[in-house]
Each structure stands twice: as structure tokens, then as C-alpha cells.
Amino acid sequence: MKFKDKHRFVKSNMKRNKTRVWMTILASTMGCAFLIMLASVGFAIHKTAIDDVMSYRLMNEIEIQKENGPLVEKDVKNLEKIKNVKAVSRKKYVPASEMSLGEYTVYAEVNSANIPSERKAGLQLEKGRMPKSKNEVIIGHHFAQELRKEMPENFTEGMSEEEAQKKMKELAYDRDLLNQTLTYHMKVDQPESKTDAEIKTVQVKVVGIKEKPKKEWMIDSSVLITDDLRDEIMPLLSEMDPELKNNDDSYSSVKVYTSSAEDVKAVSEKIKDKGYLTYSVVSELKELNIYFTLFKAGLIFIGGIAVLIASIGIFNTMTMAVTERSQDIGIMKAIGATPKTIKRIFLLESGYIGLWGVGLGTLLAYLISYGVNFALPIIVEQFMNEKPPEDFILSYIPWSLTAIAVTICMSVTLLSGWRPAAKATTVDVLKALRRDV
């Protein structure tokens, strides 16, 4: 018997018991949708956690620390020799943060860096170029909005937070900073530093502006200066704070970038062998993934119970179908239908019920997921007067979840249809012909 004919046969049988079949499909739909929705919560939390980790760090980034003492140039050279290391980003903190442009002032985080290494590590500029000479600097994307006129006393008093922010914005520098010259004040940040000393200044030119951080809520108002400029200004700062002389060679941050994310594990091992401490997002993700995989498996298991309950409906429907059609089965067997043909017809029928259930269930789950993600922030905002985080999602259905759910539902469906189908093959021809079944 050809598949097309089996399909036709099954279709006409299903049409004869429309209500019962649709009720069974509905049960499968609910089971499948419940499974997907429940697991989608786990997938959403996992995704949020990973996105959160990834928003701070790159996959191929390894942070380096030394157990005894700070990292110095020798360590960097050592790290650069390791195979598959693309770049070693090293930054030295500059303990002077005040910069100004006319009447505008900012207190920014200033670091010196080896510019070629930063470029290799993947530093991206929104506009401008990398520094080529000593007095050229790169500024963060939000530097301009932090560069403000001096705030009068009690400037924001009595204002709401929103109004205060608006007023502060009015004080911020609102023109393009690229190619502007800033005045860098050689003033040590610590309060105990000598304040009565004459404050020297250095003129620096903005040649590049960094890309906007991926997370909207992240503010980057940092400044990146060249190592040469740091070498020039550190003696000036050390005059104010002699303590600074001791740490002049040490790096405040060293990060290794591998050629690809796959190399992170091997490179980390080699770095550890050399006696350094490492931390990479891959190791954090590994822990995170194990935890969330177990969590998601648990949710899928609970969701699977709903599918199992739905499968009882399919079993029941198919058993009734076999009982009702025993006479037809008997006639078909009497003419020459093989048990295999009979079994396949009934398996196909339960398969169709499952397929409809899975299809509709998946569609329903996607609709609910979309609706929940759309409506929940509005509801939370309306009734709890709190704004959920910008990227917040309660439900996330990746293709892998759909595939898992479809596999589970279809397997359970076929299993529940198996016994009735097997029962159909055992229908006694003579009893069926005598209408004794």
C-alpha cells in the first residue's frame, strides 16, 4: 500500500471522528506548548545571564594576574611568546583624572596603553584614528556628556531626578570633541596629596573616539593616553606623591587575546603553567552552562509530564479508533492486508495527531512567548511602579528548544499510538467478519 493511499485512508478516518480527533490534538497542543513555555523561561534566564557576562567581556579575552606582586613588562613579553596569543593588552593607571576644555571640566579614568597592542586586541573607534604621537589621546564615547561647565551650588536642589538630569545635560559639552585640544591637569587624585603645589598642565589632542558600549546603560568616559605621555607625566605626579615612584613599572590591567575563542582553554592552561592566575569568560560560561543545562533539563522534564498526560489522550483516541474499526480491519485482513500495513495506518494516524499537536503547540508557544515578553514589562511598570531591565525577557525559544520539544512530543505520540496500532494487527478476522469484535 502506497503512502499516499495510507494518507488518504487516515484522513478519511480522522474526518469521521472530527470532534474526538480535534480534542486529542488540542490536548497535545497544550502539552507541547506547556513544555516549550516552561523550558523557554529557563532558556531566557540562561540567555540573559550569558548576554550579561558577554556584554562585559569578549570570548577570546583572558584576564591575567600574578600571585606575588604586580605584572611588569617582563611578564607581558613572556605572555606574548605563547602560541595562539593574538595580543596582550596592558594598561597602566594614571592617577590624575582632571581634564578641561575652556570652562568645561571632567574627571575621567585615564590609562596609558600600548596602542599597537590595543589595535590588535580589537579596539574599535567610532571616529578618528589611533594616536601616532605622544600627546594624542583617545576618549570614550560618553566623554563629551561628562565634560561639563562648573555646576553652581545647589544647582539641582528641589528638582526631580528627571529635571536634574535635564539641567545637567544643558551644562554638558555639546560639540564634536574630535581634534579638540584638552588641558590635562597634573593633579594627583588622592586628597592627601600636596594641594598647595603649583599644578602643571599638558595639552593633549583628541584624535579618536571609542565606539559606543554594546550595553545602553554602560557609560564610557575614559581616556587612553600613550605610554610615552605617561612616562612624561608620571615624574610630575611623583613630585606630589612620592609613593607613585614605587609602582611606576607595574601594569594595572593585563589581558591576553587569543586568535579564536576555541584557543582560550589551551592558552589559559599554558599561562597557568607559567605561574600566572587567569580568568576568562569561557571558564565562567562553562560553569554557567553546566548549571543552566541542568536547570533547563529539569524544566523540560516537568514539561514532559504535560506531554505524557496528553499522550494518554492519544492512546485513548487510538484505542477507541481501533475498537470502532475492528470490523473494517478484519475485512481488510480478510482481503489481503498485511499486519504491517494495518499497523502503519494506525501509527500514521497517531503521528498526524501528534504532528498537528506539535505544530499548533509550537505556534501557540511562540505567540505566548512573544506576548509575555511584550506585555510583562508594561504590566510590571503599571502595577509595580518599577521598570524592568532594558533587555529583560521572560521567555526565549531558540531553535534548539523547538527541536527538543518536537522530538519529545513526536516520540511520546508515536509511543502512545504504538500499542493501539499493534492491537489493530491482532484483530481476529473471523470474529471481525462475524461482527463479534
Binding site: M332, K333, L430, L433
Partner: protein, 234 residues
């Protein structure tokens, strides 16, 4: 065509190991030649239907051999039996045994569907067969919408659709009035004479038995050969 040798059968009734054994057939030997119409007659409970069910493969033989068309069928598996039935045997039942949810066309087409014949060929053959039994106007009628005689003709069309060399008929006129009975018997004779189809008919009706070339009587499970009315024409 059919060769039954030393066939015995007993029904087992009741629970296992405490079952009652009721012998039905005793050492039956029967030979049906190609082109013959053989009528098996006997009273109710004599074992004639059991013999036909054994030859049809609806019940599995316990002892003895059944050979149909040169094939030893008594040891076939259920699947192989089904395939053999589809290929070599046609069936006419007393109560027609049509599938109520299928139209006359679909009922006649069913063996072709089971055999996997293409839709186009099926259509040609089914319509031709319905025409042959005079039911081409009723192809889209369900069995419930047809008279007994018409239902039996649908049943015959279904039995003939795959051109089987042998048709097994169990009380074929049992549910028909005398006019339809006469029509059916004439049709059987025609099929036998024109197409050379062999018939093995179970009946207790002497009218039906009268068209047979040979009558075989079963009494209390023993087979008794009647008068030879026919000589196999070669």
C-alpha cells in the same frame, strides 16, 4: 488448484490446560482442479466453514497440508498468508463484508490499493469492474444505500478486481432473494466458463450446489465425495 491432505482441526475452548477440545474436521482430503466449481455442502456445524477458513488462511491448520496453486500455504506466516490471499484468492461472503464508510467504488478499489497499484490504473480497472457487474451508476453509493443484491455484486467486483484464479465463496446467496440468487449463480457460471475461474463454494442450498461440477459433503467433520458432474476441460 487446491490440494488438501489429511487435514484435521479441533477447536480448543476454555482456559489453557483446562480447555475442552472439540474436533471439527477429521483427516480431510480434498482436491479441486483448475476450472472446477466445487460445492461443499453440509449441515450447520458439520465443519464446512471451518474447512473454508482453513483454506482461506483465516485459521491456522494444526495437522495436514494445504497446497494452493502449487504453493504449500499451511505453514505460511500471517504476513505471507495475507500477501498470498491478495495475489491468488478472491472472496465472496454471505454478508458481503463491505466497509460501510467506503463507497462502492472504494470498496472495489481496496485490493488494488493494498497491492499498491497506481491511481490511474486503479481508476480504469475499478470502473471497468463496476461496469461489468452493472453498478457503474452506483459507484459513489455507500453499502447502506445499496440493495442486498447490489452489495453482493460490489463484493464480487472486489473479489474479481485482481483477477484471482480461485474464488472462495461462503454461502454467497445466503442473504439474497431468489431473483438475485439466480443472477449471481449465472454470473458465477459465466465467470467460470469465460474466464476459467475456479470456485470453491460452501453452501447448504441445493440450488447453489446445482451449478457445481462436483459436490462434496461434509458430515460430522468427515468428507464424502459426491457424484462427479464435470470433467476438467483441457
Amino acid at each position: 488448484m487446491i490440494s488438501v491432505r489429511d487435514l484435521s482441526y479441533a477447536f480448543k475452548i476454555g482456559k489453557k490446560e483446562k480447555e475442552n477440545v472439540i474436533p471439527v474436521l477429521h483427516h480431510v482430503d480434498l482436491h479441486v482442479a483448475e476450472g472446477e466449481i466445487v460445492a461443499i455442502i453440509g449441515r450447520s456445524g458439520s465443519g464446512k466453514s471451518t474447512l473454508l477458513n482453513l483454506i482461506s488462511g483465516y485459521i491456522k491448520s494444526q495437522t495436514g497440508d494445504i497446497v494452493i496453486n502449487g504453493k504449500q500455504v499451511s505453514k505460511l506466516s500471517e504476513s505471507k498468508w495475507a500477501e498470498f490471499r491478495l495475489e491468488h484468492l478472491g472472496f465472496i461472503f454471505q454478508s458481503f463484508q463491505l466497509i460501510p464508510s467506503m463507497t462502492a467504488y472504494e470498496n472495489v478499489e481496496l485490493p488494488l490499493v493494498l497491492k499498491g497499484v497506481s491511481e490511474k490504473d486503479r481508476k480504469d480497472q475499478t470502473l471497468r469492474m463496476l461496469k461489468r457487474v452493472g453498478l457503474d451508476q452506483y459507484q459513489s453509493h455507500y453499502p447502506g444505500e445499496l440493495s442486498g443484491g447490489q452489495q453482493q455484486r460490489v463484493s464480487i467486483a472486489r473479489a474479481l478486481i485482481l483477477n484471482p484464479p480461485l474464488i472462495l465463496a461462503d454461502e454467497p446467496t445466503g442473504s439474497l432473494d431468489s431473483e438475485n440468487e439466480r443472477e449471481l449463480l449465472n454470473f458465477i457460471k459465466e465467470l467460470n466458463e469465460k474466464d476459467g475461474i475456479t470456485f470453491l463454494i460452501i453452501t447448504h442450498d441445493h440450488e447453489v450446489a446445482s451449478i457445481a461440477h462436483r459436490k462434496v459433503e461434509i458430515r460430522d467433520g468427515y468428507l464424502r465425495e459426491g457424484s462427479m458432474l464435470y470433467e476438467v476441460q483441457r
